[in-house]
Each structure stands twice: as C-alpha cells, then as structure tokens.
C-alpha cells in the first residue's frame, strides 16, 4: 500500500472541501442549501426573524415562486437575496413571510402610493412620449440604498404605511378611468410586490394599457421571464459598475442586475437605464467607461442611458450635489463608447434633456421639463436623415 504524504493528504482535504463547498446545488441537502443561501446575504442586509404577523390579512397571497426546504423553511425565488425563512420570519424586502411553511406576500392590492405622472418622469424618453402613467407602489424593497428618495415606503413593512384598497382589477379600472396610457410599477421596488405587479399587468394588458417597470433590476431569471411577457417598457437602475459599491451604497450586488439587462434585451422589452451619479462614489470616469463598454458590448448602443444629478438625501446627506460638468463628462464618455442616446437628468434646461439624432445630430425631441415638441421625429424616424430612432413611438407598435 502506497503511503500518502502529508502534503498530498492536505491537498486532498483542501480539494474535497473546495468541491464540497461549491457543491452541486441539486445534491445539497436542505440544511446545506439553507446555510449556503444564508451565507450569501449582503453586508447590512438581513432577514427579520420572528417578525411575521400573527395571521395573514386581506392583502396576502401565496408567493409566486419559492421552494420548501428542510422541514418548514422556505426560500423565496423572486430576487437574488433568496431569503431563507423559517416559520414566522420576514424577508429582507419586508413584504414576504413564512407562515407555517408557506411563503406569502403581504403586499397585494394595498398600494401606499398612487399618482399619475408624465412618462418622462420615470424617466422613459423613448417610449410613448407625452403619455401618462398611473403609478403604483407597495411598501418594501430588496435594496437598502442610502440615498433612497422614497425610503419612507421602501424601507417600511406593508402594515406600517397607510394604503389604498386596490386589487388588480380595481387598479386597472382606476387607471382606465383616470385616462392614463399605462400603469407604472414604481417609487419603491416592484420586484418586492411581484405578485401584485404581474397580476395587475396581465389584466392591464388585456385592457389595452401598457405596463412600465421602474426597478433596480435585482430579480431572478424565472420571475423576470414571466414579467417580460406582460411588461412593455422598463427603466432599470444601473447604480454603479462596481460590486463593492453596490454592496456599500445599495445593499445588493451587481451581477444579477447585469443579467436582468441581458434578459430584457433578449426578450425585446424596451428598456432605458438610469445611473445616479453620486459624487465621490459613482463618478469615476474609468468605472463609467467600463460600464458603457459593457453596455455596448452586451446590449448594443440603442438603449437610452440617463445620468441623474445626485441631491443629498436620506442617509447620504453629507455629500455635495453632482456638478453639472461631471454629468457632462459622464455623458461624453458614454457617447464615446457608442451609446447613442445619453441624457442628463435633474438639470433643468440642459441640452442633454433633448433627443438628438445619433446619425445627423439634428434635434428630434425638444424637452422643457415635461413639455415636449417633436420637431425632428416622424413615425419613429429622423425627419432629416430618415434614420430609425430606437424606441416605441406610437401605441400600436
């Protein structure tokens, strides 16, 4: 019998541990999978133990996608947080609870915020300009952005906010009555009220309304594909191009968001991208260049990109606002990298609020706030050089 050397033994053990650690998910036991998933939680993001209500309320539904593991534990499959919940626990996004081994959403038909907005406010600049969006939000979010504008609803439990009673059918009826052209799932994070979003969107689609997803894009493939069937346009935040920054500023990760962009692109959903330029964090020219390179390499140059000016807010209130010249520099980089439609937001009167033909450079859409004129656009083409302009320009498209 050959003697095994101590070195080989250690290497062997190391190799075993490595492969065992990687594990083939299908071969994992429930406990191991739960432990694996729990270990992946990001920094300050955590589930809420023993925080579920005593009993369900009227605005509860069984979750769209989850797994039962190891007894009565559940894993939510909606977003990459993959919250592993024991009975009585609440998810990171605050809207899902495990009740006796079944995962429920508590955010269904109880929006806390309902308004009608111009579509440009989302911002969606290449999708049915001048149309109006009936906008809905439920409480909760799977991120922890330090600069969240809507933290009072995104960082709250559904039971902590005042809300309307508006189940999907009623929401659609109300949107129709208001004369809106679309329903926008927005303000907080529609991925956390996925069940409400998809059910409402299905009915809205049947009734001829468009569906708009305004989101951080932190969603798993399976639910995203289901959404793609009913969503007409999306604005997805690309908060930075650095996983460390995602963890620090947002409590999430970058890769799942990039995967979302790829899927939306493959599924031919119209989408636009938004990056909030946070001074000292999301304003590194090299990072922005890499981000734009990735966009053009993977998604092409036709998807509009919005650089937004940061204003100190919520927990990120000790930074200056973004200088306009920084936004201009970011825009220049993006255009150099081949992104054709790059806008600057939160800077009234800036020429980068308008749409310029990427081919001939002529003015296509002039925006003064939400007041638009379309001097150079006709049937989705540049009136001057007949170039097709990416986007959805009329309702029949």
């Amino acid at each position: 019998m050959n003697n095994i050397s101590r070195r080989k033994f250690l290497l062997g053990c190391g190799g075993f541990c490595f492969w065992a650690g990687l594990g083939v998910p299908g071969l994992m036991t429930g406990e191991a999978k739960a432990a694996d998933l729990e270990s992946k939680s990001v920094g300050r993001v955590h589930i809420f133990r023993d925080d579920a209500p005593e009993k369900l309320w009227k605005w509860s539904r069984e979750a769209f996608s989850y797994e039962k593991i190891s007894g009565s534990k559940t894993v939510c499959n909606i977003c990459p947080n993959s919250c592993v919940l024991s009975p009585g626990d609440r998810s990171i996004c605050r809207s899902k609870v495990n009740m006796d081994g079944t995962l429920y959403t508590l955010a269904y038909g109880n929006p806390c915020s309902v308004h009608i907005d111009p579509i440009e406010k989302k911002p969606l600049y290449h999708f049915l300009p001048r149309s109006r969006a009936f906008s809905l939000a439920e409480a909760g979010c799977n991120f922890r952005c330090l600069n969240c504008q809507n933290w009072e609803i995104s960082q709250a439990r559904p039971s902590e906010v005042r809300h309307y009673d508006l189940f999907p059918q009623q929401a659609v009826e109300r949107a129709l009555r208001s004369g809106a052209d679309a329903i926008a799932y927005t303000y907080s994070e529609p991925i956390t009220f996925f069940e409400y979003t998809i059910d409402t969107a299905r009915i809205a689609k049947q009734q001829g309304l468009k569906n708009l997803l305004i989101s951080n894009g932190y969603i798993n493939q399976e639910p995203l594909l289901a959404l793609c069937e009913v969503i007409d346009a999306a604005n997805i935040n690309l908060k930075s191009f650095d996983d460390k920054l995602y963890r620090k500023l947002n409590g999430g990760r970058l890769q799942p968001v990039l995967d979302t962009f790829r899927t939306l692109n493959e599924q031919n959903v119209h989408f636009e991208m938004t990056t909030l330029v946070v001074p000292g964090y999301v304003d590194d020219p090299e990072m922005i260049r890499n981000m734009c390179k990735w966009i053009t390499d993977n998604l092409g140059g036709g998807h509009p990109l919005h650089f937004l000016r940061f204003i100190p807010h919520y927990k990120l209130d000790r930074l200056p606002p973004t200088p306009v010249s920084t936004l201009e520099q970011m825009r220049q980089i993006a255009m150099e990298e081949g992104i054709r439609y790059v806008y600057i937001g939160n800077v009234p009167g800036h020429e980068a609020n308008h749409t310029w033909c990427h081919n001939c450079g002529k003015l296509l859409i002039k925006r003064q706030g939400y007041d638009l004129s379309l001097p150079g656009l006709e049937d989705g083409r540049c009136r001057f050089c007949d170039t097709e302009i990416p986007g959805v320009w009329n309702k029949k498209t």
Binding site: Q149, I153, G280, P323, T326, P348, G369
Partner: protein, 700 residues
C-alpha cells in the same frame, strides 16, 4: 514648602478647568459638525461628557491608590497626558468619522452614541479622574484638606475657560490653535507643579517634550483633517455660530455649514421654487424680506424689479463667504442684515410684500422659533395687506409618513391661525404659501402673464405639481393636532421621531438602560448625594430652560447666550464660598437652598408666562445666578456632611456630574419637546420638592 505645593496644585486645578472647558466646547462643536446637529445629539454629547467625567471621578476612588497612589509626579504626568489628549480627541472625532462610517453618510442614534462615547472616553475619564486625584494629592500634603477648595478652584477654571473661549478664542483662533493655546498653559502648569530639581529628570522632561510636540504638530493638521470624499476645501472658517466651509468640486462650489451641504451654486430648482411660488402671486413686488438665502435666488428675484430686498442672515461669515465665492449675486437693491431674524422683525416697522423663510428643518430649539405661532404672528404684522408669506420643509413627494403627516398638519394649523388661505406645493421641498387672499396654484400661467421665464418651473411644474397631487397632499392633513408654539416646540419632537425612523430604530432601549442605571444609582446613593444629584440636574436643566426662553424673547444673540452660560458657571463660585462658610448649618442649608431653587424656578416661569414680552434681559441672568449660587452652596455642605474621607468627596463630585448629565438629556429631549416649557419648569420644581421633602424628613 507644603503651602507652595498646595498652591501649585490649586493653580493646576484652575488651569485644568480652563483647558477642559475650552476643549469641551471645541470637541462638542466638532461632534456637532460631524453628526446630525439636532437637539438629541447636542444633549447626547453633553450627557456623554458628563457621565464619562462622573465615571472618571468615581474611578478615582478605586484606582487612586497602589500604582496610582497620589503623588505630585503622577499628577503632573497625568495632567500632561490630558493636555495631549485634548487635540488628539478633536482630531480623532474629525478623522475617524470617515473611517468608521461611510464617508458622506449620516449616522443613526446608537452609532452616534457609540462613536461619541468611544472617542470622548479617554479624555473625559482622565479629566474626571484628575479632579478628585488633585484633592487626594492635597490631602497627602495636608490631611483633611477641604474638598470645597478644589471645587472652588475647579469652578474658577471652568468659568474662566468658558468666558475665554466664548468671548476671545472663538474669534481669533481655529480649533487646533485654540487647543494649542489652552493646553500649552496646562502643560506648563503640570510641568512647573514639580520643584525645579525634579523637572529635569528624564521621566518628566521627556513626556513634557512629547506633549509639546503633539500640540505643535496638531497645529498643522487643521485643514488636512477636514478633507471630504468629493471636492477640495477652498474656504474654511470657524464662526461663532459654527463651521463654514466651501468645497469646490468640478467647478461647483458647495457651502457646508457644520458639515452638511447647505447649498451649491448650481441649484436652479430650489432657487426658482422659493422665489417664484410666492412672488408670482403678487401684482407688484416692492419690498421683500429673505430670512436666509441661497445660490441663484437673487437672479430670480431681479426678474420682479423689487425696490428693496432685505436679506437677514445671523452669521456674517456665511454672507461674506457667499459673496466672495460668487455664490450669491450682489444686486443693487440688496440690503444685508446680520441679525437674528426675529430680533430684526421685532425692531423694525417696515412692511413687506413677501417674507420668504429659507431655513433648514426645525431640528433644534433655535430653528423651531421660526415655525411657531409667535413668529407667524410677527411675520403677519410685517406683511402688507396683499402680502404673502412662504416657508418650506422636507417631505417626500409620493408618500407622507406618519411623522411627516403630523409635522405638516402642525405647520398648517399654526399658519392657519393667521392666514385665511394656505397652499401647500409639493416641489423639491414642500412649500407653504400663506396669505389673506386666494392663492393661485397655476404658477406657470402666472409667470407667463408676467413674462417671466424660468428653467424649471414652466416645464416641470405641470407634471410634478398636478392638481391631484395638491389635493392629495391636503387630504393627508390631520386635524387633531395643536399648533407649534414657542413654549411647546412640538416640531422638535417630531424631528426626533423622523430621525429615528430613518434608521429604523427607537430611543426606548437607550432610555430604558438610562432609567435602570439611574434607579440603581439613586438606590445606592446617600442622602447628600441625592440632593447633589437633583441639584446638578436642576442646574443644567435650568440653564437649557433659560437659554431656550431667552432665545424665544430676544432672538439668538451670541454674546448674551455666552453670558448666560458664564453666569451659570461663575455663580457656583460665590455659592461655594457661602456654603463653605455656613456648612455647619448642615441639612438646614439644604432645605433653605432647595426652597430657594423651587421658588426661583416657579417665579421665573410665572414671570415668563405672564410678562415674558416685557421682561428685561437681566431677569434671565438673575435667575441663572440664583440657581447657580444655590447649587454652589450645596456642594461644600454635602462634602462636609460626607466627612473628610476621599471616597465621600468622590461620591459628591460624581453625584453632581451625573445629575447634570441626566438633567441635560431629560430636559432637552424629553421634557421640552414633548411637554413644553411650563411643564419642564414644573418637573424641575417637582424634582427639587422631592429633594426638599427628603431632606426635611431626614434621610438617615
């Protein structure tokens, strides 16, 4: 020989008092500029300082022997260490903030508390330790040396330090320069505490040289330690009201006051909103009053061709800096007034077509004064018949949380006491327009009628501020609220709730631990300690009460506020003299002084309530003086009753500090915001009544 040594120790105690009060004021300002400058944090800093000091004092009982047995050399070395710790504490407070927390981010209550405690602990513990330790050293030289003399020396130092900083240092030196000045004197006093032959020994000389090097090196760290994650510091100034900084970043100048960005020169939106929302309502604009102003406001104001624009800003350093860096346009009709705005309005008969208040959130008692019934009434008196009043506050556009709902409702209720029409516009911030005519929400159309062009309003207003949103906002108001008044600053309490909500936390745990600790402490304390504890709480509580009431009636006046603080510190001194002389009266003196305290606080509040508007300034000083003297009297008596042993003196010093700490916290963050001025005064009087009954019934 002994006498000389005693005098040197007492001199050292005085110099320590001077250096420590100057250090305390500077380190408190530093913490304030690094964290949320709300009343809770202010109280928390003072509380931490006093509790840590009290703990240090208490620790002297346990550690003031053996290795640290009292001797002159150790006292000298420890005092030198204190001198070095002062600038190091300030630098740590400044620099570690961005290492421990994410640069540019706010910190919640518990994180702030932990940071303040951790950073201030070495300095405060040592400072607290040194006071009884000095007494122990004196008692080595002369057994039974009266603790009162150390107490008196400490009070002399404290009062002198407060006055020296508030009336001189703050005007001539930066924080680290100030610390260099006061701690060099402390270093010298510590070094010369020893006889000449011992000063040259390496174990004394070398530490002294190192401390001097630390103090000198710190002088060069002032501006480098103010670095920020985004931008270059181009202007830095410590005014009497706070820290004024300008950071330049990619061509944009941003003004930071006390560490928070106030405005930048590229903010078009807010400048347009705050000027045009009110002025668009007026047929003609002649006289405008701005209470604080920013960036591009003057450019927008010019579009109305006003005859005069009075711009009131309390801090001359702010206006000087704004004009120097072109952040505020100098227009010919502009008249800059450096005064407290309430004081200014009280002193002028001029009327205005528009009064525009551009202040931050009412997180402090000082800012709250501009959101009360009295101020709104005053404003109304200075408006022309067709005049308009505008102020703004923070509120999210898509959902109004419960604290915000209460805040808006209180503001609406307060304004509706004086104005027949109030319009709330949910813009970048939430704007209140108040007038006695029907206010028109169609601002873009009004501007078009006047041929006034804007970059933001005309394009964005129709989408952002729809009639639906205006109605929705009004429907959020709750009617079951009381108006915000000077005496009951309800908005401050709501701002606390909002702050805790932002961090998903609650002060209950902290207050619970505090209550538990307090109960344990009081259960174990002796009778005279209890009296001193209540006296310490009474002094600090009254000081906060007096400063608050003074601001309400006279406006914020730096020198007078400084004078009040000095009176409170200085009054202890004659009190201690009297107490020392009459200490043989024992508990009877407690009874007399407690009764005096109860009577004086009752008389003061009655005077404020019935004749607040006509009370002369000296009444506030006299009240402060009486409280301070009464407290000063009690200390020697407590020391006398406790006996000549060191532990008794330590307990007395600790009781005073812990009482002061608790008084600060409870009055600032519980009683004043939630119960109002009258109930606060009532609570202080009730606390002293308990103390009086306790003494009267005999606490043995």
């Amino acid at each position: 020989m002994k006498k000389k040594a005693e005098n040197r120790i007492l001199r050292l105690v005085i110099v320590t008092g001077i250096a420590s009060v100057a250090s305390q004021l500077l380190i408190i300002r530093e913490f304030l500029s690094r964290f949320q400058g709300n009343e809770f944090v202010i109280a928390l800093i003072i509380f931490s300082w006093l509790v840590l000091g009290g703990t240090g004092t208490w620790a002297a009982r346990a550690f003031g022997r053996g290795f640290l047995a009292p001797c002159l050399e150790r006292l000298s070395l420890l005092s030198m260490l204190l001198a070095a710790l002062s600038p190091l504490t300030l630098l740590a407070a400044r620099v570690l903030r961005d290492i421990i927390f994410l640069p540019g981010s706010a910190a919640g209550f518990y994180a702030t508390s932990g940071y303040i405690f951790g950073i201030a602990a070495p300095y405060c513990l040592l400072l607290g330790f040194l006071l009884p330790y000095s007494l122990f050293c004196l008692r080595v030289l002369q057994p039974g040396f009266p603790g009162t003399r150390v107490y008196i020396a400490d009070n002399i130092g404290d009062a002198a330090g407060g006055a020296f900083f508030s009336f001189l240092l703050v005007f001539i030196a930066t924080p680290l320069q100030s610390l260099f000045i006061v701690n060099s004197v402390l270093l010298a006093a510590a070094y010369f505490l020893l006889p000449p032959e011992r000063r040259l020994r390496v174990q004394i000389f070398l530490p002294a040289a190192i401390v001097l090097a630390v103090l000198a090196t710190a002088l060069f760290m002032e501006e480098p330690s103010l670095k920020r994650p985004a931008g270059r510091l181009v202007h830095y100034e410590e005014s009497r009201y706070g820290r004024v900084e300008i950071f330049k970043y990619e061509g944009q100048h941003t003004l930071f006051i006390d560490g928070r960005p106030v405005f930048s020169d590229q903010n078009v939106i807010q400048a347009e909103e705050i000027v045009h929302y009110p002025l668009a309502q007026l047929e003609s604009v002649e006289n405008v009053l701005l209470i604080s102003a920013e960036g591009k406001m003057m450019r927008e104001l010019k579009k109305y061709n006003p005859e005069s624009v009075d711009y009131v800003e309390i801090d001359p350093a702010v206006t000087r800096t704004l004009f120097n860096y072109g952040m505020l346009e100098q227009i010919p009709v502009l008249n800059v007034i450096h005064r407290d705005a309430r004081l200014f309005l009280n002193s002028t008969a001029k009327t205005y077509d528009a009064v525009i208040v551009n202040l931050p959130e009412p997180e402090t008692f000082q800012i709250n004064r501009f959101f009360t019934k009295s101020f709104f009434r005053l404003t109304k008196q200075h408006l022309t018949e067709k005049g308009i009043f505008c102020f703004h506050t923070r509120a999210a556009g898509n959902y109004i949380s419960e604290p915000q709902q209460r805040k808006l409702s209180i503001l609406y209720k307060t304004a509706s006491c004086f104005f027949s029409d109030i319009l709330m516009l949910p813009g970048e911030r939430l704007y209140f327009l108040c007038a006695d005519f029907e206010i028109d929400a169609g601002i873009p159309a009004l501007l078009s009628d006047k041929n006034i062009n804007t970059q933001y309003i005309q394009g964005y207003f129709p989408g952002n501020i729809t009639p639906d949103r205006i109605d929705w906002l009004k429907n959020q108001l709750i009617s079951d609220v009381a108006a915000n008044t000077d005496f009951s600053p309800r908005l401050v309490g709501i701002m606390f709730s909002q702050w805790f909500a932002e961090f998903d936390s609650t002060p209950v745990l902290f207050l619970g631990i505090l209550a538990l600790g307090l109960i344990t402490y009081l259960a174990r304390s002796r009778g005279e300690e209890f009296v001193l504890f209540t006296t310490g709480a009474m002094t600090m509580g009254s000081e906060i009460l007096v400063i608050f009431a003074f601001q309400v009636f006279f406006g914020y006046i730096y020198f007078e506020i400084g004078l009040i603080v000095t009176v409170f510190l200085a009054g202890l001194l004659p009190g201690a003299f009297i107490g020392e002389r009459c200490r043989n009266l024992g508990r009877r003196l407690f009874l007399i002084t407690d009764a005096l305290l109860i009577l004086s606080v009752t008389a003061f509040i009655a005077a404020l309530y019935f004749a607040g508007n006509i009370l002369p300034e000296f009444v506030f000083l006299v009240f402060g003086g009486i409280v301070s003297v009464a407290c000063g009297i009690q200390f020697p008596v407590a020391l006398h009753l406790g006996g000549p042993e060191n532990p008794a003196a330590v307990r007395a010093f600790s009781a005073d500090l812990i009482g002061a700490a608790v008084g600060t916290l409870v009055v600032s963050v519980v009683l004043m915001p939630y119960a109002g001025l009258l109930w606060t005064a009532g609570a202080l009087a009730a606390m002293k009544t308990i103390s009086l009954s306790y003494v009267f019934l005999g606490y043995e």
